[in-house]
Symmetry: C2
Subunit: 438 residues, 2 copies
Amino acid sequence: MAAKQSRGSWVASANQADTIFPIENLPFGAYRLTAGGDGRVRLGVAIGDQILDLRRLHGISATLNVPAALANVLDALAGETLNAFMGLPASARAAFREFLSSLLGPDSSAREQLAGCLVPQADVQMQLPCMVRDYTDFYASIHHATAVGKMMRPDNPLLPNYKWVPIGYHGRASTVVVSGTPVRRPSGQVRAADAETPSVGPSKRLDYELEMGIFIAEGNEMGEPIPMADADRHFFGLCLLNDWSARDMQGWEYQPLGPFLAKSFATSISPWIVTREALEPFRRPWVRAAEDPQPLAYLDSPALREGGTYDIQLELLLQTKAMRERGEAPVLLSRSNFKDAAYWSASQLITHHASNGCALNPGDLLGTGTMSGPTPGEAGSMLELSVGGKQPITLPSGEKRSFLEDGDTVVIRAVCETAGAVRIGFGECVGTVVAAKG
Amino acid sequence: MAAKQSRGSWVASANQADTIFPIENLPFGAYRLTAGGDGRVRLGVAIGDQILDLRRLHGISATLNVPAALANVLDALAGETLNAFMGLPASARAAFREFLSSLLGPDSSAREQLAGCLVPQADVQMQLPCMVRDYTDFYASIHHATAVGKMMRPDNPLLPNYKWVPIGYHGRASTVVVSGTPVRRPSGQVRAADAETPSVGPSKRLDYELEMGIFIAEGNEMGEPIPMADADRHFFGLCLLNDWSARDMQGWEYQPLGPFLAKSFATSISPWIVTREALEPFRRPWVRAAEDPQPLAYLDSPALREGGTYDIQLELLLQTKAMRERGEAPVLLSRSNFKDAAYWSASQLITHHASNGCALNPGDLLGTGTMSGPTPGEAGSMLELSVGGKQPITLPSGEKRSFLEDGDTVVIRAVCETAGAVRIGFGECVGTVVAAKG
């Protein structure tokens, strides 16, 4: 069975075969016009190569047949961040998606009014889609955990808790930045293997981590866990995430309380949030291998088993400064798939996070951890690709890399593309390394 | 030399010998009237047993001789959180402190107008003083790190990085709560020492940690470190902090990425922030023992050596449910002093945190870590007092405790009291454990 044909839109670019934003996607984001306009951040939905501006939609809502139940939804979308919309009940968000889908569909009677709400994506600079109050980073790929563990404990790579507890840690929310933001190489304490005392300087082992980001929709009250059966209504959608990591700083600082400055200098995310509803056709059964422990009851559910994971194809590409100067496109370093990489599902991460009564809020971000798959070509970090820096990789340009150099641009991309469904995409999460502060 | 006499205030209760809020203190907080009023959260400054309401002060500012430079400062204090005020330049905050001090001083000509701005502390419920966007918890007492390390590694309690790197981790901002908020015992995964597999249930090793909280004033731009010479202007003030900890959950989950659900269920803070300016008389020279490594250059400064730490007397008290029912006051479990407990100063924690370019924002909270002093009676957690639960302590009531029981109330108090300075206090950070969700 081939990929399904989009039902189409009167926005012509949404019907092109290569679009990642057909009417079946409708991801949410925030933007500012590159030139002109009032300089404000505005919310929008991507459709083809355009953005439907939601503030303008709110402004013309009197001319549209807006169902009464959606009036407050439109109000929530007239601001500068998605948090208010994310916090609405799942039913309201789903109803709005249907409304949007009819407005933008081929039979829409609102084409004329809506034409004035469209903004070309080429004319904007994307912004953070919401205020990320709390950011948590998980470690959900057993392949990544095993590969990294092997470098430290060759005989015993996985710690005893890994197959039982979704391992995670709190990250730094203030340095979550949108794709395109330059990433300054951090300086900090490191201790060389042969040194008695630490020294301070720019990180020499700067790395990327290919992750996905899970956005929280409705929150839970402090003290009130989220059972697996409810996890989906707290799950707004997914983006791409690069958890930049300074491996030398990490090695020196991380015991016993975990990574800190090695990670907190920057975390990049892709600008468009693909909603859970848009991902529905790409749900796949979640399977735990027979030789592994089955999840404890609070992390299990029939819905998880039936369709708790997603078929999302991930790619990581690198473009060096020399390649950019010669006009060469980024080269592929690895490919993996969320369904093969994630040992824990999005619903399990949400449920585990709230299981102690921790309050999750609309707009909170959960990184999945590095999405490495089972084979070497599916490694989601340079630490893995270069085996801890010991086996530098050679790029087609002839340049070698053990870790990132100044001027390197890291690109993460993802699409969902399977038989019987309309292809949708996430776009890109891009960041270029700039030299440490002199 | 005895304690100094306060210069006094026309607010009579501020002149009583036992007040912790004389005119030399003037801590900031947020409150809501217990009954009546418009239900809004308002900002205020404690003076004696009263609160000077800053929104009302803003309202009558036309009748006061407000220096022109302070107009925007008053605007920043008319809202519901302190963040805008915290983000003002240090000079503006200091000027406002002088202005307040003259308004409330014995020679104030504004007594009549200001009388209407006073609210009895007995009539309010204190709130979180600011929106804590990011919360970080450090591990700054070497005595605590050594005592805890000894339980796991008797021969080698301190890890090699401890004396070089201020160890810290990101905490959960969404569950920072104000003193008085009940704390629900968390449930979660634990693995008993003799068990093959983990189980799920209410924590059996619930603990407190006596800490101080450092609030950030002005922020730094992402990518721009804060040198030690500038740290003070980013340091707004201190509060008391209880880092509630589920030791059994922590032991099972914390490797390799650090504490997560064992801490994220609740962190309590005292409601009044004592400013850096108010703490000035209690500055003490910061000394690193000769046998220990001196700090690396980026964590050192002449100001640190001259007066980088503070003489703050900390107390931790416990009241069981049975004691409360019999009308018995909380009993003292430990006493310590910030200057003896903190191996790293507030300025070093701030500078280290931003050294990789991590952006700190106004209202961010940095926990110091458990402020245990060098002797057993100065242990700031029950884990230390009961030696990992192996030696239960006996309370005067005859009750025994290895860890906290439901109904236990934990109280942290602190005062600054030294010869030649007016005594000031922090008030209390209180929390009562409620049973796990059934």
